[in-house]
Amino acid sequence: MDPITAIMGLIIAGILIIVGVHLIPVGGAPAAMAMATGVGTGTVQLATGAGLTGLVSAGYMYHIAGVPLLYVLLSGGVGSMLMLGITMLVGNLIYIFGVGVPPVSAKVKYDPITRDRQDIYVSPGTEGHGLPTVSYVSGILGAFCGGVGGSLTYVTLHEIGLSIQLAAAIAIGFFLANAVIAAYNIAGTIEGFHDPKFKRLPRAIASGILVSGVISGIIIAAISFAGGVV
């Protein structure tokens, strides 16, 4: 793989990761107390959990199944979707049957997908709770983007001549750097693509391009300097 393609691949991967993180419904500490919509943990933990599961499933397809590149990326996306889907499903079960709150969004009056009324179900003093349909769908889409981004990073790094382990280690570092940049842009909680904070996405993409570009430039330069050896 020539250096320019590799850098482009890594930048696209970085953008996919950033878009993915923006789509995942993150509630942070307030959601852990059922006081905000989303899964009750931080952006980085959720995105990393989903992204790394994608990396594992993509790695399996890439090295063992022997299928075209597109399938490898798709399997990364599907692995991520499964991981986040299960997390959100179990989270919803706990919110509904454990805490006893209906999944509801406080950012919109009607769910954009099901057209269900939202505002009357929001408990006073909270910003929604659980994962309504729109957040769930948004999360699944986000996990797909993150998973494809993570596996694209890994595949690109492996294609330019890094060993499996080294490519995985650097892919995790790359994933985290981009996921945290996106998390800073969100600053706490986001419900999904219907959240007003989603409009901040272009800024995160701009900084993602800068960070991914510099990081991939460093990696490619180092490998070319060492003569492509592993």
């Binding site: 990393t48 382990q165 080294l166 650097i170 969100i186 600053a187 800068l210 180092a222 490998i223």
Partner: protein, 265 residues
């Protein structure tokens, strides 16, 4: 027991960040010393302590502003950025292994600057120390990685590090390094947080890494690993005693959860 009143309002004496940064950069000396002989590998542990101290202090400085995503994110970001710098540094320095930590340090500086710059000026985060602290955390992370390499394998050459990545130990270093840097402030934060207690906890997490590096080094160094483990346990004990004493002094620890008798009367 009675609880001593906390210093409430009186600003505790601060250790200057520059001094801690200098100590952190000095961690490169024990790292080099550790590569001289397998029996000196334990010296790398002091590199771990110093680099960890620097990273934890920088996390404290930046996280005080409230970054909105929790303290853990910045530790992960720092180590995520520095692992890239470290690997690139190893490739650049493959013919001159002793230069690798210095090259990685410079690259970590660059990565940290780019991340800090984009967070401060593109994402417009209102944290004036963002750029400086991101640079510091990434640099501390790169030094921490090399201190671990030296302690565990007794060398900082790419062949030794390849062995660490092949066995997956690199991820252990990644996660204990990130936790070591982010945990002190994350555990101590609050209205009564003070630098001395946080930094003592940083030494405790550094000591834990020292011990874990010692246990891992059995695989590479054999019996010489025992020295690392013993020195690590001693370092941990000293730091932990200091941390617990400071916590009692600050009056944040009661021996029971009940309100002290003196105050209820």
């Amino acid at each position: 027991m009675t609880v001593a009143p906390s210093s409430g309002g009186v600003e505790a004496k601060q250790i200057r960040s520059d001094l801690i940064a200098a100590l952190g950069i000095l961690s490169i000396a024990p790292t080099y010393a550790a590569t001289m002989s397998h029996y000196l590998a334990f010296l790398g542990g002091f590199g771990i302590l110093l680099a960890n101290l620097w990273g934890a202090n920088s996390v404290r400085t930046v996280a005080k502003y409230g970054i909105g995503t929790g303290v853990p994110s910045i530790g992960m970001l720092g180590l995520g950025g520095s692992i890239i710098a470290v690997m690139a540094g190893l490739y650049f320095g493959h013919s001159l292994p002793l230069a690798a930590p210095l090259i990685a340090f410079v690259l970590a500086l660059l990565v940290g600057f780019v991340i800090g710059f984009s967070a401060r000026y593109i994402l417009k985060m209102k944290i004036p120390v963002m750029v400086r602290c991101m640079v510091e955390i990434c640099c501390a992370g790169s030094l921490l990685f090399f201190a671990h390499f030296a302690t565990i394998t007794g060398s900082i050459e790419i062949t030794g590090v390849e062995e660490l990545t092949r066995t997956g130990i690199i991820m252990l270093i990644f996660i204990i390094g990130a936790l070591g840097i982010l945990h002190p402030y994350n555990a101590c934060l609050g209205a009564d947080e003070n630098q001395q207690r946080t930094l003592r906890l940083a030494l405790v997490t550094g000591g834990t890494q020292f011990i874990l590096a010692g246990i891992t080094s059995i695989l590479f160094l054999g019996s010489a690993a025992i020295i690392t483990i013993v020195v690590g346990v001693l370092a941990w004990l000293v730091a932990f005693r200091a941390f617990v004493r400071k916590s009692f002094e600050d009056g944040i620890v009661c021996s029971t959860g009940l309100i002290p008798e003196v105050e209820t009367k």
